[in-house]
Every structure is written in structure tokens, then in C-alpha cells.
Symmetry: C2
Subunit: 385 residues, 2 copies
């Protein structure tokens, strides 16, 4: 394997490349495989203080530093950093761009390998990128962790789709995971969540600039469709109370009866969310990753028996949910906790009272931060870190 700062569109991402590639759940093989990643803190001499952070649908590896495209702070700076719950003074923190993503890991936006490479003839995978699962994402991360010479992760931590990856890590490589914190997630994607994803996909498919997925051919992007997909998803990340508190029915102009577009502040906010998203995210990546989330159903991967995914595990779990999260309601975390209990796993559960909705896992939630910080310190003490 080779490691280099390789060029992906616009930015150099730090990444590891695996020429032998990865065999996927679908039977397809991605070769070579690239895994882009960032790390923070120092790996100790025993290589025992590594924490893997898994990102959500539209996140990436830039957890605790400015984003190279938007210039905004890293997406989890509230949680990851010196003295933070995921303490980079004490832990070596890794985050990889997911397989299928668009920030340097193998995905629809990356160049497709050619049987007989011709200079200048390279083109992205686009819709020829195979369908992937959450477990495929985790297998790619496993290659990276091995490559970094880390025999066992002190913890795997993530929210939303990141939490799905945490669960797959614990189920697939239990001996490698001392502690696992699946946050604001569930052991399967619900019909309602699949339905919201399908709205976003229909919007992208319906955009003529998607060009059947080959928009890269003449430099177009399906900006309108991708923007609508982001808008609807964004609503599901917030609670009704959060939207009401943030915007209520506040008008942008003097009177509703001016009857212009963007009458209400909440509308211009949403449009802004949509239009900025398209500058940093690839539409085919969005299609690929939403589909991977929809496939996610750990019970069905284990013959319909969710506890079987975790039976005999020595991993410690912290399951965390947020009371106003209607995308991954607390009830789904409780079902996960029941399955972990049925598997006799060492499990803590905390429901954080908040009206901020699903996005709360990214925000300033001191009770959550204390719970996560305490859980990770406990895991560290257990293994003498």
C-alpha cells in the first residue's frame, strides 16, 4: 500500500491507498481503494489510545479543524479537541471520509480506474460506483486502522450515520473495540427515514443537470435537485421547537402581503442551507450514501436476531439519544439497548433532554458532553491509558 497527499478535485486530502482494494457486500470490488483521513493528538507508545470518530451523511474527516472548502470550524469541535470530551491531549483521534464520500475517499466523484489507462481520459466513477453498505464503510476504515498500526481502538464514536458505523464496528470487529458510543441513531433505518431520503433522490434524479448521473461530462452539477434534497433533510435534523424558536413566523420584509418569494425567514434560511451545500457535496455521493443508510438493518444481517450481532462481546457501550430527535427517536435507541442487554453487553444509556432535535448531537449539550467524556475516561482507565 502507498500513502500520499493525492489530488482530488480542488483539494489535497491526506489519504491511504490500498492497491488490493476492498470486496463489497454487493460482490463488487473497489480497487485501488483510497481512504482519506485526518488525525488529532498523538498515538502513545502502546498504541492503545486511538479513538475513531465516524461521520454522518454529509460530514467528512475535518472534525476538529477548519473545513478546507467552506472555511468553517470542524463539524465536531464542540466534542473533539484539547480538554473536550474526546480529548486530543489524551487520545489519538482519527476520522476517515466514508467510502462513497466526496472528500478524498473512493467514491463516485473520484477517478474511475481504467483497464488501459489513457492520459487525460480519466473520468469519475459517477453512477458506475457500486452500491455500498454501512458495513462496507467500516471495512474500509478497518484497512486504515490496520495501516496505522493500531491493534485495538480504545473507542469508536459517532452520531447519526456515524452511530450506524459504530454499531457495525462493534458487531464486525468486536475484539478491536474497547468502547463504542452509538449516538442519535438506531439499529435500522425506518420507513419514514427511507421515505425522506427518497424525496431527496427524486429531486436529484429529476434535475436535468443530473444528466442520468453523468453531469461531470460537461462540468454541470444538479444544483437545484441537490439543494432540494438538502432542504428536506435539514428540516428532519431540527425539531419543530428549534425551528419555531429560531425563526417562528418572522417575516423577511415589512409585511406578508408583499407576497414575494422567501416571505419568511425560515425559507431563506433553508434555501441558504441548500445552496451552500451544493458547493461542497457531490450529488452521486449523496445518492450512494443515502442508499447505504436505507439498507442498514443490523437485525436482518443476523437472521432477524439483533442481539446476535453483539452476543459474547466484551465491548462497553454508551447509547445516547436526544428527546426531541424525531429522525432517530429515543424509542429506537431503547430498542437497541434492549438488544444489547439481551446480548449481556455492558451498556449505559442516556436520553438527553433537549428541544434541539437530531442536530443536538453536534451542538452545545453539556449533559451529553459530560456523559461521553466520562464514558471515554472510564474506558481509558480500564485499559490503563
Amino acid at each position: 500500500m502507498t500513502e500520499a497527499l493525492a489530488r482530488s478535485p480542488q483539494i489535497d486530502h491526506q489519504r491511504a491507498t490500498f492497491p488490493d482494494g476492498l470486496a463489497l457486500d454487493s460482490g463488487a470490488v473497489i480497487a485501488p481503494l483510497s481512504v482519506a483521513y485526518r488525525s488529532y493528538g498523538k498515538l502513545n507508545a502502546q498504541r492503545s489510545n486511538a479513538i475513531l470518530v465516524c461521520h454522518a451523511l454529509t460530514g467528512d474527516q475535518y472534525v476538529a479543524e477548519p473545513h478546507p472548502i467552506t472555511g468553517k470550524p470542524g463539524w465536531w469541535e464542540a466534542v473533539v479537541g484539547p480538554g473536550k470530551p474526546v480529548d486530543t491531549d489524551r487520545f489519538f483521534v482519527i476520522c476517515a471520509n466514508v467510502l462513497g464520500g466526496c472528500m478524498g475517499s473512493s467514491g463516485p466523484a473520484e477517478p474511475m480506474p481504467q483497464a488501459a489507462p489513457t492520459p487525460g481520459a480519466s473520468r469519475p466513477y459517477g453512477t458506475d460506483f457500486p452500491s455500498i453498505t454501512i458495513r462496507d464503510m467500516v471495512r474500509a476504515q478497518k484497512l486504515l486502522v490496520d495501516h496505522l498500526g493500531i491493534p485495538r481502538l480504545l473507542a469508536v464514536v459517532g452520531g447519526s450515520m456515524g452511530g450506524m458505523q459504530v454499531l457495525e464496528w462493534a458487531a464486525t470487529y468486536p475484539e478491536m473495540v474497547v468502547a463504542a458510543a452509538p449516538i442519535a441513531c438506531a439499529a435500522y433505518h425506518s420507513a419514514q427515514n427511507i421515505a425522506f431520503h427518497e424525496v431527496g433522490r427524486a429531486a436529484i434524479h429529476g434535475d436535468p443537470d443530473w444528466v442520468g448521473g453523468r453531469y461531470w461530462e460537461d462540468g454541470r452539477i444538479p444544483a437545484k435537485g441537490l439543494s432540494v434534497a438538502r432542504m428536506v433533510a435539514h428540516i428532519t435534523y431540527l425539531s419543530e421547537a428549534a425551528l419555531g424558536r429560531k425563526f417562528g413566523r418572522r417575516l423577511r420584509g415589512a409585511s406578508a402581503l408583499t407576497f414575494l418569494e422567501d416571505v419568511f425567514e425560515v425559507e431563506s434560511y433553508l434555501r441558504h442551507q441548500g445552496s451552500t451545500f451544493v458547493t461542497r457535496f457531490d450529488a452521486n455521493s449523496y445518492l450512494t450514501i443515502t442508499r447505504a443508510m436505507d439498507y442498514f438493518d443490523m437485525a436482518s444481517e443476523h437472521g432477524g436476531d439483533l442481539p446476535a450481532a453483539f452476543r459474547g462481546t466484551s465491548t462497553r457501550f454508551l447509547v445516547a439519544s436526544f428527546s426531541s430527535d424525531w429522525l432517530f427517536p429515543t424509542e429506537e435507541s431503547r430498542a437497541l439497548v434492549r438488544a444489547l442487554n439481551a446480548a449481556a453487553a455492558n451498556t449505559s444509556f442516556v436520553e438527553i433532554a433537549t428541544d434541539k432535535g437530531h442536530d443536538a448531537f453536534l451542538l452545545d449539550e453539556p449533559v451529553f458532553h459530560r456523559a461521553l467524556g466520562g464514558f471515554l475516561r472510564g474506558a481509558a482507565e480500564r485499559v490503563g491509558v
Copy 2:
């Protein structure tokens, strides 16, 4: 005024036409004004047994008979008919297509009056149709009720946007409304609901076949955008439990790993909802009516004082909500009830326990049907019908 079976696209609708038109909240005037409607049952000699049913966003006047485009049963046959809660053996039931609708009432799809009419040069209003409010819809219905020679309505009844009209009827023409049943609604449209509407509008605006609203010029329709709008709205009409029970994660093919489009049944259901909707609904109508719902805020119409809208009323109210309705949560109905109580209005309130979501008001809900039927019989006895 004249009344005729006038031709609108495809179908003859029964309608009343008012040459003097209607002055709108925006200051614009629609003239002539057409109000398409249907009626069921017989008006009694005292003209005292009339019940006005108000329809929701995508409903129409075909309440209790097959729909002239889809051939499906009327949208409220569970509630309106012989021996039903709104009993057509006893009551004269009227339903008008809302102002701004696309089933024969004045709206974006109807021909725009011309200063100097040229034969063959007629074109629809399209986006030249003025912006309207829920109160404008009610004023148009008032013209129809006067035209039919009905001095006072025994009741005004409706769910969702229909419930908003019920509230405006009671506030604007209190002397004409013996009983009012606002169902599955609220006294204002929330930030979350505005946000979902804006997603639908963005999808329509982004469809190149919308052509800036002039799609009628060459016979196109923005089918993809309108379909996406319907898909996202449809999710909000159902509860997570209803979607889970109806579809769960059931696959359409043998295995998710076939990785085709429409992998899950819920996706093909939603796509079907979207694609059939575009055969019966006009995109500019959808834009106009969703905007009218977003403007709806009865408190702000009364100086921020919601009880002021109803103070001194002798109308009896039945407010009904459904426990799993997250589009118009019970809490918003309770806020309405508190305002009615503060106005000393005669008010009953019932929350129906159901897991069917917002759509429950259209479905087989015996407890709701008994409450509504009893309320209407009580009102009828009160005025000697």
C-alpha cells in the same frame, strides 16, 4: 350573477359566477369570480339545515361522489353521506373548490380575463393570479352561500386547511355560523410547516418544465417538481408508525443487494403518490394555496390577540385533534381551545387516540365520527332542525 356549467380544462364543473368579483386581502381584485361547488342532500324550507364542508390543500368539491378525474371515491365519504356523521339525509351539504384551486373555481389554471378579449387568445392566469389568503377563500365561499339563499349555516366543518377556513368563517361571519368544527388544524401555520411547503415550492420552481410559471404556453407540466412536492407533503400526512406498519422495510425485490431504484415498497408507494397527483393538480395552484396556508396566522390578524378573533361569538365549537398528527400537533389545538375559552366561546375539545397521523381525519376513526356526528346533531336540535 350568472350560474352555468362552465368548461374548465377537461371537465364541466358546476359553478356560480360573480361578475363584480372579489377584493382580496392583497388589494387585488378577481373579477369575474367563479366558485365551483357540489351539494348533497336537500335544503329544507327554512333554509336552516345547510352545512358547509371546507376542503384541504389538495382536496376539492367532490366530497361524497366519485372524483371526475381519478374515478376514486369522494375524499370524505367516510364522514359525509346518508347516515354518516355529516348526514346527507338530514342536512344540505355544500363544498366549494377553494379560491386558487384547480377544479373550476377562479385560480391560476382558469382563463385570465382580458381587457380586450380576442377569440382564441385566452390564456390561464398562471403566475399572474394574485396571492390569496385563507380569509379570501372564505369570502369567496360567502358569496356562494349568499347566492344559494342560505342566511345562516348550521355548521362549517373541515380538516387541515379546511379547518383554517372554518376558523376564518367563525371569526369573519360569526352571525352566519351556528356551529364550527375545526379539525386537525391550528390557528397559525408553524415554521416547520412553512419549511416543508418551501421544499415543495423549491422543487416546482427548480423544474425546467415549470418555465417560470408559463408551462401552459406549450402544454408542458412541471411533473417532476410537482411530484417531489407531493412526495414530501405526503410523508407529513402520515405518522412514522403508520408508515412503519404499512411498509416497514419491506423490499420490492428478493434482496436489497440487487441495488435497483425503488428498493423498498415505501419508495414505490411515494413515487406513485407523486406521479398520480400531477394528473389532477395544477402546479401554480399548488404554489398559490401553500402560500395562503403559510400566511395563515389568526392572532396576527387580530393585533396578536387570538381570543379577540372570537370574542362575543355565539358559535359552538368542536375542536378535534389526532394524537399522532405531527403536522398539526394536539398542542396547537389546545392553544386554540385556550383562546376560545378566553373568548368565552362554547367549546368542546377531543383528542382522538390514533397512530394514523394527520390523515386520520380522512380515515375510519369511529371515535372521531361519533364526536362529530353528535356535535352536529346537537347543533341541529339547538336550532330546531
